[in-house]
C-alpha cells in the first residue's frame, strides 16, 4: 500500500469513526438540562371516549378573552401529545421564556379541526391550578425563565369532566 493510499484510507476511516447519530432517549422525569418550558406529571381519571382523536397539552400567555383567542396557544404549530389514559405521565412542554396564565390539556374529537368547528371538536379536560392564584379564572400563573425548565406543573386529566369551548365563552348552542 502506498503512502497516498494509506493516507486516503486513514482519512476515510477517521471520518466515519465518529458515528454518533440519534439514540434512544428516555422520556424525562424532570425538566431536562437546557430545556426551556414547563414539565410536570399528568394523572388520568375516567374512561377515554371512543371518538378520541388525540390529547395534547398547551399553554396560553394570557387567559383567552374570546373564542378567537383559543388558537393563540403555544407551542405552535403542533403541541406535544399526551397518552390516552394509563398511569401517570411526565410531560414536557417547550415554551419561550415568559409568563403563562393557563397550562391545560385539550381533548380532540375525531374529525377535521378548524376554527369554525372548534366548539364541537375540542374540550378542556384539565389544567394546572395554583391555590395562590386569585385571578378570576383560577388557574395557576407559570413563569418560564430563560435557559431553564419550570418543574412540578402537575395536574389531572379528567375524562369525566370535560368542558366545551362555549363553557368558557357562552352561550352554548
Amino acid at each position: 500500500m502506498t503512502t497516498r493510499t494509506r493516507a486516503a484510507t486513514f482519512a476515510l476511516a477517521a471520518a466515519v469513526a465518529c458515528n454518533q447519530g440519534l439514540e434512544p432517549a428516555l422520556a424525562p422525569t424532570s425538566c431536562p438540562q437546557g430545556f426551556v418550558g414547563v414539565c410536570g406529571t399528568v394523572s388520568f381519571v375516567g374512561q377515554v371516549p371512543e371518538s378520541t382523536a388525540k390529547l395534547f397539552v398547551v399553554a396560553f400567555d394570557t387567559f383567552p378573552k374570546s373564542q378567537n383567542d383559543l388558537f393563540k396557544f403555544k407551542p405552535q404549530p403542533s403541541p406535544p401529545n399526551l397518552p390516552l389514559g394509563g398511569p401517570a405521565f411526565f410531560y414536557t412542554l417547550p415554551l419561550p421564556p415568559g409568563r403563562y396564565e393557563w397550562v391545560l390539556a385539550v381533548w380532540q374529537k375525531q374529525g377535521t379541526l378548524s376554527p369554525a368547528n372548534a366548539d364541537s371538536l375540542l374540550r378542556e379536560t384539565g389544567f394546572y391550578s395554583d391555590k395562590g392564584d386569585t385571578t378570576e379564572h383560577g388557574s395557576g400563573i407559570v413563569i418560564v425563565n430563560p435557559g431553564t425548565g419550570t418543574d412540578s406543573i402537575d395536574f389531572v386529566v379528567d375524562f369525566n369532566t370535560m368542558h366545551r369551548v362555549c363553557f368558557y365563552f357562552p352561550p352554548c348552542p
Binding site: T2, R4, T5, A8, A11, L12, A15, V16, C18, N19, Q20, G21, L22, E23, P24, A25, L26, A27, P28, F35, V36, A53, K54, L55, N68, F71, K72, Q76, P77, S78, P80, N81, L82, P83, F89, Y91, T92, P94, Q108, Q110, G111, T112, L113, S114, P115, A116, A118
Partner: protein, 740 residues
C-alpha cells in the same frame, strides 16, 4: 398494406437520394494495449447520430450532416475520447480512437474534462460552460445500483436532497415538495409539476437514463421559471442500431432498528424490482420500450410502496440532418404516507421521548396514489453548417390523491409546452441561440381551489400561461469566450393580465495553459406555483388560505470559477458563488386569525465556495474524488424578523468517493458529511445531528451479465434532515443486469 408500402418505399428512396449529399465518418476504436474494442459507442454529438463498433473495432456513420462535428467514442472501463472533424457533402473522413483505460467511465462525477453537455441549450464542451456543471454518467448510475435518479444525483458535488427535494448550493431548503427552486428537464423538456412545481424523480425509469447534467446557479436566462437555483437535465439513452435488450432485477433488505426499544415490526423489510428494456434500430428508425416495477416494505412504520412504470422512445432520421424523436413515460405509485415520527404519548412510546421508526397513531392509515407521465416530440434539423433548429412539443400530467383520516385531497394537473429554437454560427467563433417558448399549466383540484371555505368538497380549475422569448450569443475573443443573453417571460394566471420577468445573463470563459477561468452573472426567477397561489386546506388547527397575488421570486447569482489540471492525474475545480434572492415565497403563520398563507416576505443571501478534486488514478486502479461546499445562507432582516440562518441549509457539505477496479471486479464507496443545520423549522427544539452516510458498492462483470451490490448507509447512521422524519437506514441491495 400495399397502399402504405409504396409511400414508405418512396420516402426511403427520397432519403437515400438526399443522403448522397451526406458525409461519412468512419474509423476504429482500440483500447490501449488490448486492441480493437467491440461494441464501443461512437456518437456524433449534437444530432446524436450514433453506432456501435463491430468485432474488429470498426464503425461507420453514414448519414452525417456536412460541417464541423464532434465525434465521441466511449467504452465501459475507458476514458471517453473526442475528436472534432470537418466533413464536406459526399466526403468520407476517418476518425479513429485509442481509448485509455480508466477505473471507471471517467470519474465518479465528471466535473472536468472534455465532456459535452446540453444543459446550456446546445452542445458544448464542458470546460466552455460559463457556470459550474456536474455530470453523472450512465456507468455511475449503473454502478450505484439505485432505483431512482435522485438516489444517484444525491452525491454530486454541491447537491443535496432533503426528503426528495433537491438543493443546489442550498437553493430550496425544505418546503415539503412545494415550489422547487430547481428546474428538472427530461431531454431538455421542462418537467416540474404543473400544479405544485415540485419534481417527480421517478418520472423516467432509471433504465432509460443515459446521464444527468446538473447546472448550478441561476439558469432562467435560458430556461425561465424555476431555474432559480439551477437546472437538472435527465438525458435518456440513445438507441443503438440492431436489436438490444436489457433485464435488470433488484432485491434488497432494510436493516432493523439498531435498538430493541425502537423495534416496530417482527420481520425484516425487503425491496424487490424488475425492469426490462428492448430496442431495435436501423439507420432510418429506432425504437425502445421499457417496463417494470418495484415494491418496498419501507424502513419504518407505514412506509410501503408499489411502483409501476413504462416508457417508450422513437427515433426517426429521415434525412442525415433531420431527426424526429418522440418519447414518453408513465409511472404509477401507491404508497403509504409516513407522517412525522411519534413523540412521547403519540404512540406506543415504550417510555421513550420519541420513536423515530413509528408514526403518530392519529396518522395511521394515510396513503397516496400518484400517477404521472409525459409525452414529448422533438424535431431537429441541421439546415447547414451554420444553422440548426429544433421544435418540440410536450405534455406532462400528474394526478395524485392523498387519502387521510377525515379528508381526501386530490389534484389533476397538466402542463402543455412548446418551443422553437435556432442555433446559428454566423461567423467563426460566434454562436447565437434564440428561441421562443410557450406553456400552459392547469389543475383541477379540491385543495388548490383558491376558495376560502374549509370544506374539501369544492373543486376548482386554475390555469397559468407562460410566453417567453430568449437569446444568447457567444463570441470568441482571443482565448476568451464571452457570452451574453436574456430571456423575457410573460405569465398570466386564470386568463388575467400578463406580468413580465426579464432574466439577463453575461459570462465568459478564459482558457489558460492548465485549465480555464469562468465567470458569470445572471438573474433567476420562479413564478409561484398554482398550489402556492390557490392552496386552501386545513392543517389543524390552521386554515391555509390562498394568495392569488403572489409575485415571482427573483435572485441575482454570480460565480467565479477556475478549473485546473494540476497534473495528468489530478484535476481541481473551484468556484465562488453569490446569490441575492428577493421576494422569496414562504408560509406565514398568523396566530391571531389562525391562518397560514404563502407570502413574498423574505430576502436571502447564499454565498460560498465549491471545491472538487479528482485523482484519476490516485494509485494504479484506484480513482478518488473529493468535493466540498461551504455555504453561508442567511435570511436577511425584514419587517420584525431579524437576520438569521436559512433553515435546512448545511454550512459544510463534503463528499469523498473512491473506486478500485481489478480486471472485471470493482469496489468502491462514497462518504457524505453534512454539517448539522444551524436552523430548522417546525421543531427547533428537537435534537439534531450532522449527517454522516457511508455507501459501499461492489460489482463484477462477466459477459452479458453484471452483478452489483450496494450497501447504502453502511454504518446504519440514524439521523433526520427534515422535521421528525427518519432518513433511510442501512439498505443492502443486489442488482443483476443482463444485456444483449
Amino acid at each position: 398494406m400495399k397502399r402504405l408500402a409504396l409511400p414508405a418505399a418512396a420516402l426511403g428512396l427520397w432519403g437515400q437520394v438526399l443522403g448522397a449529399q451526406d458525409a461519412v465518418v468512419y474509423g476504429t476504436v482500440h483500447g490501449e494495449s488490448v486492441g480493437p474494442l467491440r461494441s464501443a459507442e461512437v456518437v456524433v454529438i449534437g444530432p446524436n447520430l450514433g453506432t456501435l463498433t463491430d468485432r474488429g473495432g470498426k464503425y461507420r456513420l453514414s448519414r452525417v450532416a456536412p460541417g464541423v462535428v464532434i465525434v465521441r467514442a466511449r467504452f465501459i472501463g475507458y476514458v471517453p475520447a473526442f475528436d472534432t472533424v470537418s466533413v464536406a457533402a459526399g466526403d468520407s473522413v476517418e476518425a479513429s480512437f485509442v481509448l485509455r483505460p480508466s477505473v471507471t467511465d471517467g470519474l465518479p462525477f465528471v466535473v472536468l474534462g472534455p465532456v459535452v453537455v446540453t444543459a446550456a441549450k446546445r452542445s458544448q464542451l464542458l470546460d466552455q460552460a460559463i457556470t459550474s456543471v456536474a455530470v453523472v454518467s450512465d456507468t455511475e448510475l449503473a454502478r450505484r445500483a439505485v432505483n431512482t435518479v435522485d438516489e444517484a444525483v444525491d452525491k454530486a458535488p454541491g447537491v443535496q436532497f432533503l426528503y426528495g427535494q433537491v438543493n443546489i448550493r442550498g437553493s430550496t431548503g425544505y418546503v415539503q415538495g412545494l415550489g422547487s427552486r430547481v428546474l428538472m428537464l427530461v431531454d431538455g423538456v421542462p418537467a416540474n409539476q404543473g400544479d405544485r412545481g415540485g419534481i417527480n424523480w421517478d418520472l423516467v425509469p432509471l433504465e432509460d437514463v443515459q446521464r444527468v447534467e446538473i447546472v448550478k446557479g441561476a439558469g432562467s436566462s435560458l430556461y425561465g421559471s424555476a431555474a432559480l437555483g439551477g437546472v437538472v437535465n435527465v438525458l435518456t439513452r440513445d438507441i443503438a442500431p440492431g436489436f438490444h435488450a436489457r433485464v435488470r432485477a433488484t432485491g434488497g433488505s432494510y436493516a432493523n432498528p439498531p435498538y430493541d426499544v425502537w423495534k416496530f415490526r417482527d420481520y425484516t423489510g425487503a425491496e424487490e424490482g424488475l425492469d426490462a428494456t428492448g430496442s431495435y434500430g436501423t439507420e432510418l428508425v429506432r425504437a425502445s420500450v421499457t417496463g417494470g416495477g418495484w415494491h418496498s416494505d419501507g424502513y419504518r412504520q407505514q412506509d410501503r410502496r408499489d411502483h409501476w412504470q413504462t416508457a417508450a422512445k422513437l427515433d426517426w432520421r429521415p434525412l442525415a440532418a433531420t431527426r424526429l424523436t418522440a418519447s414518453g413515460s408513465w409511472a404509477s405509485d401507491q404508497y403509504e404516507t409516513p407522517l412525522m415520527w411519534c413523540t412521547q404519548g403519540g404512540c406506543n412510546d415504550r417510555g421513550q421521548a420519541y420513536q423515530p421508526f413509528m408514526i403518530d397513531t392519529a396518522g395511521r392509515g394515510a396513503f397516496t396514489r400518484s400517477d404521472k407521465g409525459y409525452v414529448s416530440a422533438t424535431l431537429e434539423r441541421t439546415a447547414s453548417a451554420r444553422l440548426a433548429w429544433q421544435a418540440r412539443g410536450s405534455w406532462l400530467r400528474t394526478d395524485f390523491t392523498d387519502l387521510q383520516q377525515g379528508q381526501d385531497d386530490f389534484g389533476v394537473a397538466n402542463r402543455l409546452g412548446a418551443e422553437l429554437r435556432g442555433i446559428a454560427r454566423p461567423a467563426d467563433g460566434r454562436v447565437v441561440t434564440v428561441g421562443a417558448e410557450i406553456a400552459r399549466s392547469d389543475v383541477t383540484t379540491n385543495i388548490f381551489t383558491g376558495d376560502t371555505s374549509t370544506t374539501s368538497t369544492v373543486v376548482r380549475t386554475h390555469t397559468q400561461s407562460e410566453f417567453a422569448a430568449y437569446g444568447e450569443s457567444e463570441q470568441m475573443v482571443g482565448r476568451a469566450r464571452i457570452t451574453a443573453g436574456a430571456r423575457v417571460d410573460y405569465i398570466a394566471v386564470d386568463g388575467g393580465g400578463l406580468s413580465a420577468v426579464v432574466s439577463p445573463r453575461v459570462g465568459g470563459v478564459f482558457a489558460t495553459a492548465h485549465g480555464a477561468w469562468r465567470a458569470s452573472v445572471g438573474r433567476g426567477f420562479r413564478a409561484p406555483s398554482l398550489a402556492e397561489r390557490f392552496v386552501s386546506t386545513t392543517i389543524p388547527p390552521f386554515h391555509v388560505i390562498p394568495n392569488p397575488n403572489l409575485r415571482p421570486e427573483t435572485a441575482w447569482s454570480a460565480e467565479l470559477g477556475k478549473v485546473t489540471e494540476v497534473s495528468s492525474a489530478l484535476r481541481a475545480d473551484a468556484a465562488l458563488f453569490w446569490t441575492e434572492a428577493h421576494d422569496l415565497i414562504e408560509p406565514n403563520v398568523n396566530l391571531g386569525t389562525v391562518q397560514i398563507q404563502f407570502r413574498n416576505v423574505a430576502r436571502a443571501r447564499l454565498a460560498g465556495l465549491d471545491v472538487s478534486l479528482a485523482a484519476s488514478p490516485l494509485t494504479p486502479r484506484l480513482t478518488t474524488s473529493l468535493a466540498y461546499t461551504f455555504l453561508y445562507a442567511r435570511g436577511l432582516a425584514h419587517d420584525t424578523v431579524p437576520e438569521r440562518p436559512l433553515a435546512f441549509r448545511p454550512t459544510h457539505l463534503v463528499t469523498l468517493s473512491a473506486d478500485y477496479q481489478w480486471h472485471t471486479v470493482s469496489a468502491g464507496g462514497d462518504f457524505r458529511y453534512t454539517s448539522r443545520f444551524e436552523r430548522v423549522e417546525l421543531y427547533p427544539g428537537d435534537e439534531r445531528v450532522a449527517g454522516k452516510v457511508l455507501d459501499l458498492r461492489v460489482g463484477v462483470e462477466r459477459g452479458p451479465l453484471s452483478l452489483r451490490g450496494r450497501l447504502a448507509n453502511a454504518l446504519n447512521y440514524i439521523y433526520n434532515q427534515v422535521p421528525r422524519t427518519l432518513a433511510p437506514v442501512r439498505t443492502l441491495s443486489v442488482t443483476l443486469t443482463w444485456t444483449y
